[in-house]
């Protein structure tokens, strides 16, 4: 139990997917113009992350390993992620138009998000059990959401800042992301507890 809790904390804070492992940085910059949008993206990506974290391990364990096809891992995982995102989109659209508008996140932001695929591959590399893989997915989802929403808040502030011309736009956003990831380095050493 403690070990699983540690997996969640490690994935969310110590090895924060975006700020420490630099996975899903495209989404960090692509979907953080407004806080509402960031919350929607964080939620959708988080749900997809948790589902795919388990599904990809199921595929790995019961399809790829018995058939001795580990070299197809990357392609298989991409297919699993794409299908999950598509199905999630249909479910959201069926659920209600309101939720659809709230969670109106371009499917590409989620599908082509290196964080989603990254979690699946990291789970395989660490050969975690299904429960541990789910915990890693939960932690990664929390970490991704946290980074994205914090960063969206900061970027809203940046819009009004008198930034020197050469640093406007992407440059100051990168500097800010750098400082936030420095702050997250304070969590280093947590997994040892």
């Amino acid at each position: 139990m403690t070990e699983l809790a540690l997996v969640v904390i490690a994935a969310a804070l110590v090895n924060n997917l975006v700020l420490v492992q630099t996975l899903g940085v495209d989404a960090l910059f692509g979907a953080s113009d407004r806080v509402e949008m960031a919350i929607g993206t964080a939620f959708v990506t988080g749900v997809v992350l948790m589902i795919t974290a388990v599904l990809t391990q199921v595929v790995e364990r019961y399809v790829l390993v018995p058939l001795e096809l580990p070299y197809l891992r990357l392609i298989a995982f991409v297919v699993v992620v794409a299908v999950t995102v598509h199905v999630a989109g249909i479910v959201v659209r069926r659920a209600s138009p309101l939720t659809k508008r709230m969670l109106d996140v371009p499917a590409t932001v989620v599908t082509a998000n290196s964080a989603v695929l990254g979690v699946a591959l990291l789970n395989s590399t660490a050969s975690r059990s299904l429960v541990a893989a789910l915990c890693y997915g939960i932690g990664a989802a929390i970490g991704f959401g946290l980074a994205l929403i914090l960063f969206a808040g900061l970027r809203e502030r940046l819009a009004h800042a008198d930034v020197p011309v050469p640093f406007r736009g992407a440059a100051i956003a990168f500097v800010t992301a750098g400082i936030v990831s420095l702050a997250f380095l304070g969590f280093a050493g947590f997994a040892r507890l």
């Binding site: 914090l150 808040g153 008198d162 020197p164 100051i172 702050a183 304070g186 040892r192």
Partner: protein
Amino acid sequence: MHFEQTSAPHAPPLVSVAVVMQRVLFALLPAALCYTWFFGYGLLINFVLVALGAVLTEATVLRLRGRGTRQALRDYSALVTAALLSFALPPLVPAWIPLLGGGIAILLAKQLYGGLGKNLFNPAMVGYVVLLISFPVEMTQWVPPQMGDIDYHGLSFFQQLNYSLLGHLPATLDVDALTRATPLDVVKEGVRSGRSFFEIRGGALFGDFGGRGWEWVANLIFVGGLYLLYAGVIRWHIPVAMLAGLLVPAGVFSFIDPAHYASAGFHLFSGASMLGAFFIATDPVSAAATVRGRFIYGAGIGLLTYVLRTWGSYPDGLAFAVLLMNAAVPLIDRYTRPRIYGQR
């Protein structure tokens, strides 16, 4: 002939930025003298070097941007950043550390965001964290207090200056002979290696609550903080919330298991607790703006400091805690907006 025309109201501002910053520097003075008394001249040398780095960087950036340098350099804000950063640095470091730190603090955290009043993060803490992560060896060269029964003699002013600028130490000494672990470090490593907190507390380094010498500096920082409160430079919400956020979990954990968790008093008088509560977390620019937000912001810093000190790998987590909460400030302000009068 040029006459300046202004519209009403004509009341002059009672306090300018420069006056506020002067008061902050004044409030740090007793603690700085006490620090020098116990730990040698390193703090003063570092302050001059950090200030040099900070002011030069500020002037260069403003010159490059074609802005007037005079106004910005006269408001003392770079000196306050320098003072806070020099308190955070170990006394025994080569000169390029404080110079670089001052430059990084001003360039990365202040001028890139548009200068005074626009920074998202506390400049001194950004400078400190960058230095700590980039140069971990130099940034842990802490010295013990020079007190009668602790068998230790510090460097004289010129020996200290000689080390800082040229890297030369007196022939019989080397850096390892001069530096010791800080009380926070001693407690953390001691508890990790299975010793009890009471046993560790018995060491010569420890006084009534925190480390000897350190606790006196903390006392004087507290006095300076009270002066800032009295002068109206800071308000009470953040210091109270921050100390509560630090002391409540410390008290609970040390009540449950006093042998393995340091006492609340130790946390209060160790590391950067006091400096953080009264001088760092209260930075009006990077802190939350609403009253409820200030409570959340302060408590968050205190709690994160405790968590990072107790379970993290760095002895003191205050700088990281401040930066993490700085990052959360836009969200805190967003969700603690006061109700507009007349709105439901």
